[in-house]
């Protein structure tokens, strides 16, 4: 069952073999190897991010997503404090994420981000880009200070940035699955509302669809997904999963549904390749490299390859198209 010593192709083969026998009913969830848990967690989170990322990219809200990925630090701290003082929950280990903490923290941080950024922009009349930037950097700085005071360890932060997928656990799988199902459900149910508020907010208002409500819902989803992904890939790398797959998918299609599906696909594919590569480096070269970092590297190269090779929009395709047009223009026969 273990993946010890397998190289890249060995991992892929073993994984699909296990997957097939799981479907056939020969395997149970209890005996999952750590690589398999890693793949599943990364795939689930990747698909969640691709779903919300597609809309965030189209609405030009990716910087707000970046903003949220910073403000969740203070959201988690506040949530911890609330849970400990008002509900007498014990903090066994700092930054252990469970469902209650997840919900409360994501609610707090998305509200903080939206409210404060808007406050600086509209009431204090600060220009929009500066408002966004100021709010999240300051909240993050305060978050770090608070974390330092509460945990006496100012390096906890780097685990938040990078996560630690190599310590991933079955409980993380539950959270990742929960996030996946919620995000898929919300995207399917509210698809046309998300579409209309992203494309033409004036028309949405006329059609009695609230722009504010769906913007907040999207940010809430982002917040929850980022926190859920905390232990697996860390906060900033979630941004990579939010931004890169939709941009890759956009190179292949002009239709929203296809774009979302393709983004989910590239995300999942990248996850499997990254885990396989990670095991490969460990087995063949004895190098324990960061799987989360590998995820981003893989996504980047998939994007890069698409920029070059995508049909119609890729650089090479455009080059050939231009060359052909020039030739036919020169010889109209």
């Amino acid at each position: 069952m273990s993946y010890w010593g397998l190289n890249f192709f060995g991992v892929i083969k073993h994984f699909f073999y296990t997957f097939a026998s799981f479907i056939a009913g020969n395997c149970s969830i209890e005996n999952l190897a750590i690589d398999e848990i890693q793949v599943l967690v990364l795939v689930f989170i990747g698909i969640s991010c691709a779903l919300i990322g597609s809309f965030l990219v189209l609405r030009k809200m990716t910087m707000l997503a970046n903003s949220i990925s910073h403000t969740i630090l203070i959201g988690i701290v506040i949530a911890h404090v609330i849970l400990q003082w008002f509900f007498f929950k014990d903090i066994e280990k700092p930054f252990q994420i469970d469902m209650q903490l997840l919900m409360l923290a994501s609610f707090i941080s998305s509200l903080l981000t939206l409210f404060l950024t808007d406050f600086f922009n509209r009431v204090l009349k600060l220009q929009k880009d500066a408002s966004i930037g100021l709010v999240f950097t300051v909240l993050f700085a305060i978050g770090i200070v608070l974390v330092t005071i509460f945990t006496r360890n100012s390096h906890i932060g780097s685990e938040i940035i990078m996560g630690n997928i190599d310590m991933v656990h079955k409980d993380d799988l539950k959270i990742a699955l929960f996030l996946l199902l919620s995000n898929v459900l919300l995207t399917v149910v509210f698809f046309k509302e998300y579409l209309i508020t992203s494309f033409d907010s004036n028309f949405a208002k006329l059609s009695k669809i609230s722009n504010w409500a769906f913007t907040y819902l999207l940010l809430l989803q982002t917040s929850a997904t980022v926190i859920g992904a905390l232990r697996a890939v860390g906060v900033v790398l979630v941004l990579a999963l939010i931004v890169i797959p939709p941009l890759t998918a956009r190179l292949y299609t002009n239709r929203l549904r296809s774009m979302i599906l393709l983004a989910c696909l590239t995300s999942a594919l990248g996850a499997i390749i990254a885990v396989a590569l990670s095991r490969h480096f460990l087995s063949v070269y004895g190098l324990p490299l960061s799987t989360a970092g590998l995820v981003v590297v893989c996504q980047f190269f998939i994007w890069g390859a698409s920029v070059l090779f995508a049909p119609k929009k890729g650089v090479l395709a455009k080059y050939f198209f231009n060359a052909v047009s020039r030739v036919t223009a020169a010889n109209p026969s």
Partner: protein, 444 residues
């Protein structure tokens, strides 16, 4: 029992010196470039560029770890150059995505930000278990480690800061022109592309200096906060540079000051906590507090000032309305009568009446308020403005006679003497308003 460290010791103590001075230099450099970035409305570019330095840093350390057993003398320079190249590559990618791939600006920034950070994490992980000491050197760039600065850092940063300051001083007018209207500047024949490239390189340099103090994640804040604060205090670009630089330097110093002294204080008050506050976040928190105070209290644009002035105007309107009313009724009025007629709360009416007495418009006799000469003149002026405006609406803008009154009720409090003169000239000093009432003459 540790005593709090007094502020001059931050410059004299050999341990604190390097950290304090290099933080102040770094903040100066970044606050100058922050102004340029602010006027172009591209404040978030600092966020992308600072994260983009990370792979360069990781690779430089990897290289050194492979070639040396201990950090060589040139180590700071190697790191600097690695960070610089990496960040410039990031900038190139952003421009490529925006121009050639039609990617929206925010997506391009976030793309580079996250991708480069991911690469950095990947490279750094090579050293995580095999060479933990080298790995630490990479990690400290996430949040900065001002405390371990050496004199060589100080000298290096001083030189770079000087270059940045000189650039801004010598190319001030070009920077201003490009920031305001790039296309026009190009048409004028100025070498816009060259200056833009130089600006970019200097922003990257400011970022690279800064991450050693505040770290990759927080650096972008120092490229926003000082400029935002300065903007509230002035409309003049050169003053904006000066204020921004000042605020930057203050933040750099106070960040160090508070991180050290607050830690000491907390150590006394809560020794069990064993807290040591990191410098980077403290610098940023100080900078943000300054910005927030400027946004609220700035003399012209600040929130408090604006609210105050609004209130003042509304009180003025109230006073003038009461004056008008008293003139029209003719006789004296008691406090209660005034309150009832104008429907104001007693405390506010008290303030208003006191102000009017101070201004010499009214006086009190036998518990009644009557108009003074000065008050009468003022009332006449307001009525004159009211009726002049009515004539203007009626004759020049085609309003019907019954519709002009409402607008005039508002305008009578706003028209300046200058505008009054223009109106009188335009209307040829009319004597009657559209309701055939007499218009009081101007100036007595």
């Amino acid at each position: 029992m540790n005593k709090l460290i007094p502020f001059w010791e931050f410059f004299t103590d050999p341990v604190l010196q390097a950290s304090t001075i290099s933080s102040m230099l770094m903040c100066l450099a970044s606050s100058i470039m922050a102004v340029i970035v602010f006027i172009k409305r591209r404040s978030l570019i600092g966020e992308a560029l600072s994260h983009a330095t990370y792979p360069g840093i990781a690779l430089s350390v990897l290289m050194c770890a492979g070639l040396f057993t201990k950090a060589p003398g040139v180590f700071p320079f190697v790191l600097l150059i690695g960070a610089l190249i990496s960040s410039l590559l990031g900038m190139r990618l952003i421009t490529f995505m925006e121009e050639k791939l039609s990617v929206k600006s925010d997506s391009a920034l976030c793309f580079v930000l996250s991708t480069f950070l991911g690469f950095g994490v990947f490279f750094a992980s090579r050293l995580q278990f095999s060479h933990p000491i080298w790995f630490q050197k990479i990690q400290m760039f996430l949040y900065g480690q001002a405390a371990t600065m050496l004199s060589i850092h100080v000298i290096l940063y001083a030189i770079l800061t000087l270059i940045i300051a000189l650039f801004v001083v010598f190319l001030f007018y070009q920077i201003q022109a490009i920031g305001f209207d790039k296309m026009y500047t190009k048409v004028l024949g100025l070498r816009v592309n060259l200056i833009e490239s130089l600006t970019l390189i200097l922003i990257v340099i400011a970022v690279v200096i800064g991450i050693r103090s505040v770290g990759v994640v927080l650096m972008s804040g120092m490229l926003i906060a000082p400029a935002a604060a300065a903007r509230q205090l002035t409309n003049n670009l050169s003053k904006m540079f000066l204020f921004s630089g000042l605020f930057g330097v203050i933040s750099g110093f106070l960040g160090n000051y508070f991180s050290v002294n607050l830690s000491i204080y907390l150590m006394q008050v809560r020794p069990l906590w064993r807290v040591s506050l990191p410098t980077g976040p403290m610098i940023l928190i100080v900078a943000a507090c300054i910005t927030f105070l400027c946004l609220i209290l700035a003399p012209n644009r600040g929130l408090v000032t604006r609210l105050y002035r609004r209130q003042k105007f509304q009180l003025k309107v109230l006073r003038e309305n009461i004056l008008k009313e008293m003139y029209k009724t003719g006789s004296g009025q008691s406090f209660i009568q005034l309150g009832r007629r104008h429907r104001i709360f007693a405390p506010i009416l008290l303030i208003v009446v006191c102000l009017m007495r101070l201004q010499g418009w009214i006086s009190k006799e036998n518990k009644l308020y009557i108009l003074s000469d000065k008050g009468t003149k003022k009332a006449c002026r307001i009525i004159r403005l009211h009726r002049l405006w009515e004539v203007y609406l009626y004759t020049h803008l085609g309003y019907l006679a019954e519709n002009v009154h409402k607008s005039a009720e508002e305008m009578e409090h706003i028209i300046t003497p200058n505008l009054e003169k223009k109106l009188s000239q335009l209307l040829k000093d009319p004597k009657l308003d559209p309701h055939d009432q007499i218009i009081p003459a101007g100036d007595g």
